[in-house]
């Protein structure tokens, strides 16, 4: 390797562990269905990338949110494309998580010792769904408002604590600017960070346990 790389590596020490990681053996008869999870992860990275770009122009306030989405779509250079990529990555992310789950199920790769990793995957799936739910409100248009109105009212049906729960989710009795900021914060901070932690655990266990032998 080059001099600069060696200088960094002598302080950072990434070469040795990565050598082990890259040269680890994999089962011989794996096929392309083993790539479904990796494809889902690609969409997660695209979501992070396009999401960061969108956050440059998006304004999470009751008065400005809709206007800023109109601006991103009509005025910002390639803004429409970034928005489209974000939306499609989200849909494809969910689709490929489902396909990946089916693949793992068919190949019995959920069996111990991979049971904990299966559970990590389920948490990732739920986190992805929650991201979709919170992200749906952000354009702050008719569709977003009423879908979230119905969606959050489901929390209100829980016995005893339902009203408190719904109030906590909405940040008030109705959906308003507080809900928007709450959902925005969940969508761009809490959920992506949770997802990153879950995915780190997911990949760490794959690395430690190796790829499950096929049928």
């Amino acid at each position: 390797m080059g001099k600069i790389f060696d200088w960094i590596d002598s302080r950072f020490g990434v070469k040795e562990p990565h050598k082990r990681f890259l040269q680890r053996p994999v089962p011989e008869n794996i096929n392309y269905s083993y790539c479904l999870g990796g494809m889902a992860f690609t969409y997660f990275l695209m979501l992070a990338f396009t999401g960061i770009l969108l956050s440059i122009y998006y304004v999470p306030s009751e008065k400005e949110a809709f206007k800023s989405v109109v601006m991103i779509t009509n005025e910002v250079t390639l803004g429409w494309l970034v928005r489209s990529l974000h939306k499609w990555s989200a849909n494809l992310f969910i689709i490929f998580i489902i396909l990946h789950t089916i693949r793992v199920f068919v190949y019995k790769a959920y069996r111990p010792p991979r049971d904990l990793n299966w559970m990590a995957g389920v948490f990732g799936f739920v986190t992805a769904m929650a991201s979709g739910f919170t992200g749906y409100l952000l354009p702050w248009d008719q569709k977003a408002y009423w879908a979230t109105e119905v969606g959050t009212s489901m929390f209100g049906t829980v016995p005893l604590i339902g009203d408190y729960l719904m109030y906590a989710v909405r940040g008030g009795l109705d959906i308003n600017g507080t809900t928007l900021i709450r959902f925005y914060s969940l969508h761009i901070l809490y959920l992506p960070v949770s997802m990153a932690v879950v995915l780190w655990a997911h990949f760490h266990m794959v690395k430690k346990q190796g790829i499950a032998k096929s049928l």
């Binding site: 089962p27 794996i30 969409y43 494309l81 769904m129």
Partner: protein
Amino acid sequence: MGKDRKEKRFYPDYLSEIIFAILVSIEILTILALLYYPSIGRQIDFTRPFQPRPEWYFLWLYQFVRYFPGKSAFLGTVMIPLISVLLLLLIPYIDRGKNGRLKAIAVGSILLLMFLILTLLSVL
């Protein structure tokens, strides 16, 4: 060395396949994003009634709620989704014992069919 060569290694055997899959993923994404870009919605207007429509992966949940009116709504909105996630989490432990795999297949296909059928019903 002869033996080593037969064995597949992550690099370069598997990594090249993953990179191919990543390129395909990005291609699918780009084509869809260019062809079907989202339009701007209508501004919020409380005077106009609006039929709420969630993302496609929540349609099954909205459909479920229709079957549980009034006080039993709690079953459709909270209990069934919670039980579904719990069952999915416990799949490795449902697959135990003699007919474990069969039980796991039963639970797995019920969850998948529930999702697919309810989604279809809500679209129709």
